[in-house]
């Protein structure tokens, strides 16, 4: 078996009494997009920080491209592209200057960076904004500039920490399009996200984290098939909660109640919907089970303290 591009083995980190990451192992193969999903406080950002050598793990190893973190941190980062959760663009520089200055941190020559800038700006759909400062850009443009900046050293692997949080649907779709393009070009991506549709669309493999531990791993569709019934019927309206004890319940493998809504997870949606037609005052939504259902099943519906 060929060596992984990036592999993490038995990683652990605690801050005081709080075990933030517990025995986490995963690897990233060349050309794949690995998604890391988990509620707030699950350890995603700490894991990324350890992968970048910014936080020292208490135990465990991180290997990347034949090198070891944190010993070879700078040599590894030479081949990485990073988009962090918060934009760290330089507000005093234009888009083009942001790329130039960032390229210098990789030891690139000004001439080489300047040659790359037009194609990076074009990739980010920012050609017309080359002279604009980040303050003049929309949220989506800033994120795309951050992505272009992460590509300035032509990295093999991208680490993206919630790259589309806070973007409107148009900006998010454009970002997805760009990331898919990068995957087609053979780049590898490690992506953390709160958007399940993003994870499903981009990631060839998913890692579900909770309380610092890996609780599931696999292809998005396989995980859904493994953990969930194929169909979900959501019912809400006056008297919906009473359905939990009604004959309709027999057609569902599992039932969950959240607020005023009842979720039926079922293998026989047809019969369930027929039984529900006896309650015309209720509103029903029938849909296939998705990653969000999986996520909520594995990590629970309760809001986390630090959310």
């Amino acid at each position: 078996m060929a060596e992984s591009l990036f592999s993490v083995n038995q990683l652990a980190k605690r801050f005081g009494d709080n075990e933030v990451v517990r025995g986490l192992s995963f690897s990233i193969e060349p050309g794949e997009c690995l998604g890391v999903i988990g509620p707030n406080g699950a350890g995603k950002t700490t894991t990324i920080r350890m992968c970048l050598g910014l936080t020292a793990p208490d135990s465990g190893t991180i290997h990347a491209m034949g090198l070891q973190m944190p010993h070879d941190a700078l040599a590894i980062k030479q081949q990485l592209g990073v988009v962090s959760q918060m934009d760290t663009l330089d507000p005093d520089f234009s888009c083009a200057e942001n790329l130039l200055v960032y390229g210098r941190y990789f030891g690139l020559k000004d001439k080489d960076i300047k040659e790359r800038i037009p194609s990076l700006l074009e990739f980010a759909s920012l050609t017309s904004k080359a002279g604009a400062r980040p303050g003049e850009l929309s949220g989506g443009m800033k994120r795309r500039l951050s992505l272009a900046r992460a590509l300035v050293n032509n990295p093999r692997l991208l680490l993206l920490d919630e790259p589309t949080t806070g973007l409107d649907p148009q900006a998010r779709h454009l970002m997805w399009e760009r990331l898919q393009l990068l995957l087609q070009q053979g780049k590898s991506i490690l992506l953390t996200t709160h958007f399940m549709d993003e994870a499903e669309r981009l990631c060839s493999r998913l890692l579900v984290l909770d309380h610092g531990k890996k609780i599931a791993e696999g292809k998005p569709r396989d995980l859904i098939a493994e953990h969930l019934e194929p169909d979900v019927v959501e019912v809400f309206g006056q008297g919906a909660l009473a359905l939990v004890d009604s004959p309709a319940r027999a057609h569902a493998a599992r039932v969950e109640v959240s607020g005023e809504t009842v979720f039926f997870y079922t293998h026989s949606a047809h019969q369930l919907l027929e039984a529900l037609s006896a309650y015309p005052q209720l509103r029903t939504l029938h849909r296939p089970a998705n990653l969000e259902d999986l996520f909520l099943k594995l990590t629970g519906r309760q809001i986390r303290e630090d959310a």
Binding site: L74, K77, Q78, S84, M86, D92, V101, Y105, G107
Partner: protein
């Protein structure tokens, strides 16, 4: 990596220095005006105004007590103070903006540049800002004919060293800060008393004996002791001791600043 590990500074600091230089070039004129106008206005007002009342001040030199015009006495002290203030402002307010507010450092650390190099770049940058400031002020002093000493050429690198010392010290407080308000303590409770106890405005002989002992070990008084004779076209006494005091302050506080910054970023 422990927080007290020996500083690991490499040439990777240079692009970070260039980054700050590029920002400064965009804002150079307002920034220079701010850095130079204030000290020059005070110098002229106090120097000529007070100078008319004070007349000459007696300074100890190798040739015995020498009387110098008050404006020269003040100019040679206040240029050290300007180096101190320029470096401190840059390594506190500006460095804190980059470190904490704009998260510039976080962005840089995602590239192959270590924290030690970033802190070193900020330190050298703040010292360079001090150098820009004192160069301009020195030019005006020459223009006003306050001094014509050829030894100013030596005062110039010494003042750069003063900038280094104070930027190292300021970076300690930068590492500890939670907000800009914190720096008020440093300026009011530390730099202001230091300024009055270092012989900038009046000879140290005026201080009570106990304060003189403290003053002997303050970085600014050692800086003034080096620079003032050069303004008077004399050689400083005990130069090695003064240089060593500044160097010890610089090295020790750089290491402490680095350790505290590493701790801050390890979270």
């Amino acid at each position: 990596m422990t927080m007290w590990q020996f500083p690991r500074v490499t040439l990777r600091f240079w692009p970070v220095f260039l980054r700050n230089l590029l920002v400064w070039r965009k804002l150079a004129i307002p920034s220079l005006v701010g850095n130079i106008a204030e000290p020059l206005i005070s110098l002229v007002a106090f120097g000529y105004g007070m100078g008319a009342m004070v007349g000459q001040v007696t300074v100890q030199t190798p040739d015995g007590p020498t009387a110098v015009p008050y404006i020269l006495f003040l100019a040679s002290g206040s240029i050290c103070m300007s180096a101190m203030n320029a470096a401190s402002f840059e390594a506190l307010y500006s460095a804190f903006s980059r470190m904490h507010v704009q998260k510039t450092w976080d962005g840089i650390m995602n590239a192959p540049v270590g924290l030690d190099d970033i802190v070193f770049a900020e330190m050298i940058w703040a010292a360079f800002k001090a150098l820009f400031t004192i160069t301009a002020i020195m030019g005006v002093m020459l223009g006003l004919g306050i001094t014509h000493s050829p030894k100013l050429l030596l005062a110039w690198p010494i003042l750069f060293g003063v900038g280094i010392t104070f930027s190292c010290m300021a970076l300690v407080f930068n590492a500890l800060a939670n907000g800009y308000e914190f720096f008020t303590y440093y300026f009011t409770l530390f730099l202001t008393p230091v300024m009055f106890m270092s012989g900038v405005f009046f000879p140290l002989e005026q201080l009570p004996p106990l304060m003189r002992v403290v003053s002997d070990w303050l970085p600014l008084s050692n800086a003034v002791a080096l620079v003032r004779p050069l303004f008077m076209d004399q050689w400083p006494q005990d130069a090695l001791r003064h240089v060593l005091v500044l160097a010890v302050y610089a090295c020790a506080s750089f290491w402490v600043a680095l350790a505290l910054t590493r701790k801050r970023f390890s979270k």
